[in-house]
C-alpha cells in the first residue's frame, strides 16, 4: 500500500508539470501589458521602476527561462508579488483556501449524505410513485446549472423569504464570525452546490443497490433471518458503496468549477471568486497560481479516492 501511494505521488509530479507548462505557455499568448496590473492606468510606472519590475518578473527573458524561473520561485512558495488590487499571489490564495474548502466539503457532505439516503430509498421502493418523483428530481438536478441555482436560491430564500443572509461568509462587525453565524451563511450556497451531487449520487446509488440486492448473499442473509435493516445497511449498502466511491472522486473537478459561480453570486471569499477577479483584472500570475493549487488539490483528492477504494474493498491489491 505504502509503495503504491508513493508511486502514485511520483506519477502525479509529471502531470502537474505538464499542466503548469500548458497553462504558462497559454498565458504568454495573452494580450495586454502584464505590467499594467501593477499600476493604475492614469499613473503609469516611471521607467526605472518599470524596468525593475520587468526584471523581477523576468519579462525580458526567453519563455523557457521564464517558466523555469517561475517554477523555481513557486517551489520556494513565491507565486508572484503584490499587485494593485491583490495581495501577493501565494498569500491571497492561502487566505481563500479555507473558505473554499469549507464550502466544498459541506456541499459534498450534504450531496453525498442525502444522495445515499435517497438512492437507497429509491432502490428499495423501485417503480413506486416516490421512485418516479425522485427520478424526475434527479433529471432536474443534473440539468440545473450552479449559476441558475445560485440566482434562484438567492432570490427565493435570501431576498424574498429572508431565511438566509444574502451573501458573504459572516456578518460584518463584532457580531459576525462565530460558528453559528458562518453556518447560517454557509447553508444556502452549500445546499445549492449540493443539488447536482444529490441528484447524481442518488442515481448511482440506486443502480448500484439494485444490482447488489439481486445477489445470492442477500438471499442468504434473508434466509438466515437477518433483520431487513441489517441486510440493507450491513450487506447491500456496504457493497454498493464501492462503485460510488469512484464516482465521488470524479465529482471534484466539477465541484471546484461550480465554486467559481456560487462564490461569485454569494460573495463567498474563496478561490473561485478570486479566480474570476484575477481573470477580469488580467492578473496572470494569480491565474497561474490558482491553476497550480487547483491541480494539486485535484491530484491529491484522486489519490485519496483510490486509497479509500482500497480500504473499502479488501480485494483490491495494488502492487
Amino acid at each position: 500500500m505504502g509503495s503504491y501511494i508513493l508511486r502514485r505521488i511520483l506519477i502525479s509530479i509529471p502531470m502537474l508539470l505538464v499542466i503548469t507548462i500548458i497553462a504558462f505557455l497559454l498565458l504568454q499568448l495573452a494580450p495586454g501589458d502584464p505590467i499594467s496590473a501593477y499600476s493604475p492606468p492614469e499613473a503609469p510606472l516611471p521607467p526605472e521602476q518599470r524596468e525593475a519590475l520587468e526584471r523581477q518578473l523576468g519579462l525580458n527573458e526567453p519563455i523557457w527561462t521564464r517558466y523555469f524561473y517561475w517554477l523555481k520561485e513557486a517551489l520556494q512558495g513565491n507565486l508572484g508579488p503584490r499587485s494593485r488590487n491583490f495581495a501577493p499571489v501565494g498569500e491571497a490564495i492561502m487566505s481563500r483556501l479555507g473558505p473554499t474548502l469549507l464550502l466544498m466539503v459541506s456541499a459534498l457532505a450534504i450531496g453525498i449524505g442525502l444522495g445515499l439516503v435517497l438512492g437507497v430509498i429509491s432502490a428499495l421502493k423501485k417503480y413506486s410513485i416516490l421512485d418516479m418523483v425522485l427520478t424526475v428530481f434527479a433529471f432536474l438536478g443534473v440539468s440545473f446549472p450552479a449559476y441558475l441555482g445560485g440566482l434562484l436560491g438567492l432570490y427565493i430564500f435570501a431576498l424574498t423569504l429572508g431565511w438566509a443572509p444574502a451573501g458573504g461568509m459572516s456578518t460584518a462587525g463584532a457580531a459576525g464570525g462565530g460558528f453559528v453565524d458562518v453556518t447560517r451563511h454557509l447553508i444556502l450556497p452549500a445546499s445549492i452546490i449540493a443539488l447536482n451531487y444529490v441528484a447524481s449520487t442518488m442515481r448511482y446509488t440506486r443502480s448500484a443497490m439494485l444490482e447488489v440486492l439481486d445477489q445470492d448473499y442477500i438471499r442468504t442473509a434473508r434466509a438466515k433471518g437477518l433483520k431487513e435493516n441489517a441486510i440493507v445497511v450491513g450487506h447491500a449498502l456496504k457493497n454498493a458503496l464501492m462503485p460510488i466511491i469512484t464516482i465521488i472522486g470524479s465529482y471534484i473537478p466539477n465541484l471546484l468549477g461550480g465554486a467559481v459561480f456560487i462564490e461569485s453570486i454569494f460573495g463567498w471569499p474563496g478561490m473561485g471568486r478570486l479566480f474570476v477577479d484575477a481573470v477580469e483584472a488580467r492578473h496572470y500570475p494569480m491565474v497561474m497560481g490558482l491553476i497550480l493549487i487547483l491541480a494539486i488539490l485535484i491530484l491529491v483528492v484522486n489519490l485519496l479516492t483510490d486509497v479509500a477504494y482500497a480500504m473499502v474493498d479488501p480485494r483490491v491489491r495494488y502492487d
Binding site: 502531470m15 505538464v18 499542466i19 500548458i22 497553462a23 497559454l26 498565458l27 499568448l29 495573452a30 494580450p31 433529471f139 432536474l140 443534473v142 440539468s143 440545473f144 446549472p145 450552479a146 449559476y147 441558475l148 440566482l151 434562484l152 438567492l154 432570490y155 431576498l159 424574498t160 444574502a166 473537478p253 466539477n254 471546484l256 468549477g257 461550480g258 467559481v260 459561480f261 461569485s264 453570486i265 479566480f275 474570476v276 481573470v279 477580469e280 488580467r282 491565474v287 490558482l290 491553476i291 487547483l294 491541480a295 485535484i298 491530484l299 484522486n302
Partner: protein, 310 residues
Amino acid sequence: MTNRDLAAATPDGGVVATMDAEGRVAQKIVSPGRLAMRRFFRHKLAVFGMVVLVLIVAAAIFAPWLTSYGPNEIDLRARSQGPSADHWFGTDRTGRDVFARTIYAGRISLAVGVVAVMISVFIGALLGSVAGYFGGIWDTLIMRFTDIIMTFPAIVAILTLAAIAGPGVRNIMIIIGVLSWPVPARLVRSRLLSIRNQEYIHAAQALGVPSSRIIIKHALPNSLDVLLVYSSLGIANAILLEAGLSFLGLGVQPPTSSWGNMLNVARNVSVLESEPWTWLPAGLAIVATVLAVNFVGDGLRDALDPRMKL
C-alpha cells in the same frame, strides 16, 4: 392501416411479425436503424424532450414572426416594466423587450452548442481513431493528454482561454469545442480497439487500403452511434458552459443576447430582487433546453445500445 404492428412482442429482434387485415401473419426483416427508431419513439421521455426541443429551435428560427420587437430595440419610455399584454415578459432597464431577447438569444446559444460539439467531434474522432487504430506510443501520448484535460475543471480552463482569446461568439464556440474533445476521443478509441482486429479490417489492410481510408470508410461509420449520443449530451453541456461564461461577462458580449448574458444582469442584486422577469425567462430556457436534450440523449442511448456506458 391494414398492418397491425406486433413489434412489441419481439422488441429487440431483427424480425418483426405483422398481421394483415385477413389475419395472415407475415415476417418482415427490419433494419437496425429502423429498430433503433422504433425503440426511440417508444421512449416517452425522449419523445417529450424531442417535442420541447423542436419547439425551442422553431422559436429561435422563426423569432421575427413571433414578436414584432427587435432584440436590441431600445424604448426609453418603457423601461423596467413588468410582464403585460404589450411586452409578454416585460422589459429590461433600457426598455428592450425580454420575450424578443429570449427567443433571439436562443439562436446564439443553440448555435454555440451545435458548432462547439461539431468542433469537439471532429478533433475527438481524429485523435481517438489515431489512438485506437495505431495504438502504441500514439495511444499512450493521446490518452495521457486526455487524462490531464479531463482532470481539470472545464470552466477554469475555459475562463482562462476566454481571457486570453477575448470574448465573442466565435471564440466561445472554438474554446468550448477545443476543450470538449476528450470524451468523444475516448469513445471513438474504445470502439476502434474493439473492431481493429476484425476480419473486414484485416481484409482491407491486406488489400493495401491506406490507413486513413480504412479509418474514414470503416472505423468511423462504426462509431456513429456513440458519437450521436455524445453529440446530444455534448450540446447540452456546451450550452451550459456558454451560459456560464456569458453569465460571468466573459462570453457573448452585449448587445448580442444569449441566455447566459441575459442572466448576467441578475448579478446586480436590485435587478435580481425587483425585476425577476428580466432574467428568469433566460434561466428557464436554459433548463428546458438542457433537460430536453438530456431526455433525447437518454432515449438515443437506450435505442442504439442499451448497454452503452456514457
